[in-house]
Symmetry: D2
């Protein structure tokens, strides 16, 4: 049971609401003697923080993280690491006018039905602001994996589809990703995406996105069948991100259309090197990593807070309409990239530790 | 930690290998005083059992289940329910010739890398035979939900795409599903699927499938954010099924292409009735059920055991080829339908109990 | 897996070190719509806080708690409750001279062996300062139970043995307990305890204690056999408290000396009232509450930090001696009373929720 | 959540009732490549099985165990190990006359209050027959630890007090323990115990016992503070055994009476050897093993099924009396020795794996 905890051996528990005094997390099960500085975490948080371009929300949060425990003289001690990020730029008044209405597509209605009470300010607990805490946890997972697995290890994500516009995956370039405001891996499409998203924004609408995350340097053998399969935990991790509605491993949904010989990745040995001819499996077979690159993708639905007027009801059951003003991402999928990376780092470390426990 | 356990409050733990003496499961956390007979479980097992048509494997297993504990005079006692199904029709000799080879697309390679040992007979633990145990657990979950939620509750699944052939979802008919060997909900396409799958089989190949599962009569409020979201647990459940590579909730991967106004399901009240204009959310908002029909789908990759010759290596690292003879499903996706239903029943009951614990 | 988390459905995760900037906890799974004010928590913390009499450590901490999340307009929302207590009166310099030595009876040696690193200041994570966070969590559990079970519910603890001096349990008086600095329930012995503990303190030594905690108004039926027995979880809870070495349920260790007819509590019905002739079971049979008063006790070993010189080694393996100066409780058992109460409140609420989930 | 599961990384789930067709367990998380034969498990089961002397119940069960999964060609595969033991010698008719009465001291009343239904035959799920499944799990844990830690590892338990009669712990002799029907470690007291227990039996009564279990060869560093302390998990394990009412670690309850200098075990180094002057801590400091012998003890209350007539009520609330005929142990504590050993083996392996995961 873990409503607000993710993970098995490397576990993080997040807390906080969009307009509360602060948000944060506790990381438990982190190996000792890992070098961790606040800057290591800040680098990752900065990728996700709002207000960095005209394509994201204009809420200004510097998302400055503080380490409150678990690190002594710059190294982890094996005890719980408590991280806190104070909220700064809340405009709770923006939400006064809609506090009794349920925004369609948001969790307003369901939280109210479940709990009979909800913090309406900025979505409260259901706000994507919570994901900052995950990114912080992921930064620590990343540091541990870099030490344990070594330099060949890398997790990197990108937006591969923005609304109706895809990109050319063959042009994927790691260094391109950080050089544009969309985390787009294909330089040739960036301009088009820019125009498209500006027009979406101007029209008071929003769009969805597909994010792909890849993990390199992962040894074969991670994953614990049957009910702790690596792909199962990845699906779980990604689906837990706000607004995610679909998850693929490797060829994903598309694998339904393949034949057996198209799909199964042939194996051969060339000297000491094992070669898979293709990677439909996304690096995972029977729930266990094969040593191939792990490739996963997920879809983020369009931001539900839009200027366009929508029909809804209020909490008294009366029909009404809503138009959500204020500061919102025209495509929440963009800022989901560092979140997807963080979650994959956490899942991989979790399985790394599990594997070490049982099989080393 | 739960390598072979699924669930939080309603939990089942499965055990057994394809060619071991038996398979089974223990169900823990089942409410007391529920009427359970072996026949209730058998009905569900019969949907999944092999050898029922020319479109599934010819292995003959009657999959007869026995209740060993937890049920007294036909009613559950609240103590663990142990179920056992003896294996009958194993032909372990079929696997002798390939025991040192890794079948591409299967878990042979990864199990060996992880554990340094594997039961090669019929895939051992990684065989889809394990799913019989889940179907048994799901049968019990279904009985509990029927008693607790009442008659309006129903979970039903279907194959909505067979390889490259889809079907018309507008023609979905519950009663059609059980009347064809594909669990196809659209009567008009059945003949075509039949021809298609026979040709796939004859060519020694296989194909994938998409399965859609729907749950009706689910009250609003089930699901526990952030890390026990209902959709997260559903994704996890479906991805745990053998050969599943993608999971969608509602519009799923397709939601990336929608605009905000297309995607967010408008809400209105008509008398006492709450109406959602559409169901892109698949009945889940912020990880909590909205009271709409829950609609999920998942892709099953094509059977990896095919007659066509494939390149691979053996466990000594030597290049070789493999052609898998014996008895295999040309489309394993078909028999995944009752498995998907069972998993959804289990997740829903689990969340029903969690909700009762915290919010009643 | 839960290194720093306690509980199943009502869960708290603590963090923080004795000399870090703060300590705190996250409470997850709390039911919504419970009235919680910081003062409710403060009342319980004040029972435990140091520096209140000459019989406890002179470290001055006001242990002022802040609620950072999960409470909206004075009521719980069902989302995680984050509590923080800043540390104020650390004198880390006191620990400089002994930072390389292992204090006998403390966790210095074992933490170092386990993690290869430790925060030596005030015992770091192993300090009893962590128990403030539990007391805070227990305060919330208490509020929930008072609302759910009603006024008859009460958990109350006392010191029933101070070093070699016992007290007369027949003279147990609830109101006496809060009126003396020992949480002693027997007014007639207080003066003697006072003299005894002063002499212990003057001699630079310390003494152990036995704490008894009673829970009234608990309905029959709480507890979930086999491996979530109520007594099992209570034993676990109490043994997790710093310096606890033994736990009894009802007659406890003494039950070994009883005969069957002495031990088994006879049952009779008088009108509508069920009467147990005795309470050797401590209110728990087969791991489930019987409706009798729940009575448990535990032993706290004497404070290991004493002025008297003791032989030990340093972290380089050299023989040395140690005399621990600074501010210490002559009997840490005293301040364990509110901690024991808090833990029992948490276990009871946890089982209350579990019972509701499975059996209501 | 784990009503019928014990452990975190090495987990076992038990099932079955006293008079059901069988009992058994599933072991999950066992490392691969461990040699396991049914005989290895049988040896341990034989220590616990009934009907071996006139001092235990006369129910005849050979407790023959079968391995149904998880072991391939004599070695564990890392997948779940399912064990089954068929019940043979049930005399359910013996329980017909008392099926509506609640036996005082037993779980009859509380199970009925909790679940509203109970299997009355032989205590159903609450019967100590369940402990056979634990002993089987413990046998596997032992094999793993012997391989991982090596020859110096040994867990051994004994009865150190039988009713009102203690024994001389200074005369503890491992080889004596298996040579008398009481698992008594002190040869000089055996005759007296024999006379005493025969007289107890003849009088139609029963007596309690204290069991001590010791673990040798355990490296320093096992245990995970704060809420997975080694002693906490041991207390939990022992308290889960039927009829256990108290648990001590090292000096246990007695440590309350010690002074700081008496209690804290002084440390010194002699060459390469670390020496603790005493072992009041029972080998555990701050929840982590110190490398000393782990010493724990627990009290088992007297058998509640006695011939002597006792007052009770029936399930209709009517006053009545009960005298339990049939086959019962005059001291259930005796057969708790192998159960305590098994549980300690399981806890130690669990922590061994946890330590390897986080700290290796």
């Amino acid at each position: 049971m873990s409503f607000n905890t993710f993970g098995k051996l490397f576990r993080f528990t997040t807390w906080g609401e969009s307009h509360g005094p602060a948000i944060g997390c506790i990381i438990d099960g982190c190996p000792p003697n890992i070098d961790i500085k606040e800057e290591d975490i800040q680098i990752e948080l900065n990728k996700r923080k709002p207000g960095q371009s005209k394509f994201t929300t204009q809420r200004k949060e510097d998302d400055k993280v503080q380490i409150l425990s678990g690190v002594f003289k710059g190294r982890t001690t094996g005890t719980p690491i408590s991280l806190i990020i104070y909220n700064k730029d809340m405009r709770s008044r923006d939400y006064e006018t809609i506090k009794n209405k349920f925004r369609p597509g948001h969790a307003d209605f369901t939280y109210f039905k479940k709990y009979g009470i909800r913090d309406h300010r900025g979505g409260g607990r259901s706000s994507a602001r919570e994901t900052a805490a995950r990114v912080a946890a992921g930064a620590i997972a990343k540091k541990v994996l870099e030490k344990k697995i070594g330099k060949k290890f890398r997790v990197i994500g990108a937006v591969t589809q923005l609304g109706i516009l895809g990109c050319d995956l063959n042009k994927w370039n790691d260094s391109t990703i950080r050089k544009n405001p969309f985390f787009c891996p294909d330089k040739s499409i960036v301009k088009l995406w820019e125009k498209y998203l500006l027009s979406i924004r101007k029209s008071g609408s929003s769009c969805g996105a597909i994010i792909e995350v890849r993990a390199r340097g992962i040894p074969a053998g991670l994953g614990a069948p049957i009910y702790s399969k690596l792909d199962m935990d990845i699906a779980s991790a990604m689906m837990s991100i706000n607004a995610v509605k679909g998850v693929n491993i490797g060829s994903g949904m598309n694998s339904a259309q393949l034949t057996g010989e198209q799909n199964s990745d042939e194996i051969s040995q060339k000297g000491k090197k094992l070669i898979f001819k293709s990677n439909n499996a996304g690096g995972i077979l029977g729930g266990i990593s094969s040593g191939q690159e792990i490739v996963i993708s997920f879809a983020v639905k369009p931001t539900s807070s839009i200027l366009k007027s929508r029909k809804t009801i209020d909490k008294f059951g009366k029909n009404t309409t809503i138009s959500v003003k204020g500061r919102h991402d025209p495509c929440v999928g963009i800022r989901a990239v560092p979140v997807g990376e963080a979650m994959l780092n956490c899942v991989l470390l979790d399985h790394y530790l599990m594997h070490k426990a049982q099989c080393s």
